[in-house]
Symmetry: C2
């Protein structure tokens, strides 16, 4: 039976994790080990300067889970290093309430959890929902979770590509309005960060990285283009960041 | 005049940063903005959930610098968003006392600082020294800093490749024994992490991610192969993580 580790970067009590674990239980045996707090935009972390704590908790749907004070990638490392005494065939991370597209993938705790899995030799899948900015009320993760399950089932039956992170982004639409799945390349995010300088009550400055929510280049064949056109985007990502074309030209220079 | 931002992930008072800033002052005008503490293996962070503080400090060689309580990538973002009122032509990060090769590049605060620069549209260079594990006493960063300067001068005169992070790793050898510069691809790290379970004085478990220092696959043409053969390794890295070959095969599947 397929043994699946479910984690996320929003913390073990986030509703997106519940929805994902619920669907993954239809695919195999599920163990949840996730951070005990929110680690959004935390990047790829390996905590070695302090020890990590892990406690058992019960999620609102009754599923038992482990919560760690480490980052998402630490949770994956702990599990793959044998914390629970189990072996894992697959790591699925999410569901993040915001899309992880373009350059987001290097900042994203959701994606770097899947990255840590692949470095550890286990297939890794990241799942994110493109919920509208400033969304009020409860997000519906159902459609995203069901699409994630179908995509994982296809990957399991066809065989996961080696050394590849599968990055899934789902548009926030009623399930019937989603047009299908597109295999995409990483697109371009356009960040609109601004520095916001303020003064504290003692007159000392502090700074927010503020500004508007990022947008992106809406191009066919990209993650951003797919979700904006109503498709679920599936992007295969690799661990080798080498810029091979640049390498060839640098190699001709006099060093 | 070239305006260079120097940062690191070991903190503003680290000797590797001093050595790098010293050499970069021969290339252009230098501003130092670095974390006020060590952020090793911190990954690519964008701090938006709390404000950041910045204070002016003086380094031991008299150079004035800015110290921030953000991560290395936050320091770069703060600088590029205009904190100091200056424009930057180049960001150089380091010198890290340990090599950043293979999969290290996604964990590395040193490399993700350079990555943040490139996302912000400014060339980014990461510099690391392959100092021996368990090195006692003071490390000599002189050779690494001088090689970094020469490589940056070559890149400035030939033109930095677009959207490319330059990842430099220098073997820990006397300068005369370094054989030259090799342009390399990202190699394979072999991590040897082990979970170390302990109990606190109250009998509650805690966990260290321990084990032995990582090694690597010593292959010609790779970052690890180059430094182990006595060369300075220069690896061009890109922001696009798409696994293009996998993409083509996934595109043929039924989804």
């Amino acid at each position: 039976m397929t043994h699946i580790l479910v984690t996320n970067d929003d913390g073990v009590s986030a509703p997106g994790l519940l929805a994902l674990a619920f669907e993954m239980q239809k695919v195999g045996e599920v163990t949840v080990l996730a951070p005990d707090r929110n680690w959004s935009a935390s990047g790829h972390v390996k905590t070695m300067h302090r020890p990590l704590r892990v406690k058992e908790v019960q999620l609102v749907d009754g599923l038992s889970a482990y919560a760690s004070d480490g980052a998402p990638s630490d949770c994956v490392a702990l599990a793959l290093l044998g914390l629970t005494g189990e072996k894992f065939d697959l790591v699925v991370s999410g569901i993040n309430p915001n899309a992880n597209i373009g350059h987001d993938v290097t900042y994203s705790g959701t994606v770097t959890a899947a990255m840590e899995a692949v470095i550890g030799g286990v297939p890794g899948v990241a799942v994110s929902l493109d919920a509208p900015e400033n969304h009020l009320g409860v997000l519906d993760y159902g459609a995203a979770a069901r699409f994630a399950r179908k995509i994982v089932e296809t990957l399991l039956s066809q065989g996961f590509p080696e050394k590849t992170i599968i990055n899934i982004n789902v548009p926030y639409l009623p399930e019937g309005e989603i047009k299908g799945v597109q295999i995409t390349r990483q697109g371009l995010r356009l960040y609109r960060d601004r520095l916001d300088r303020r003064e504290d009550p003692r007159g000392r400055p502090y700074y927010w990285i503020g500004g508007d929510a990022p947008t992106g280049v809406q191009e066919d064949g990209t993650d951003f283009g797919a979700i904006k056109a109503g498709y679920v985007s599936v992007t295969p990502l690799r661990l080798d960041l080498t810029a091979y074309q640049v390498l060839e030209s640098l190699d001709l220079w006099e060093w």
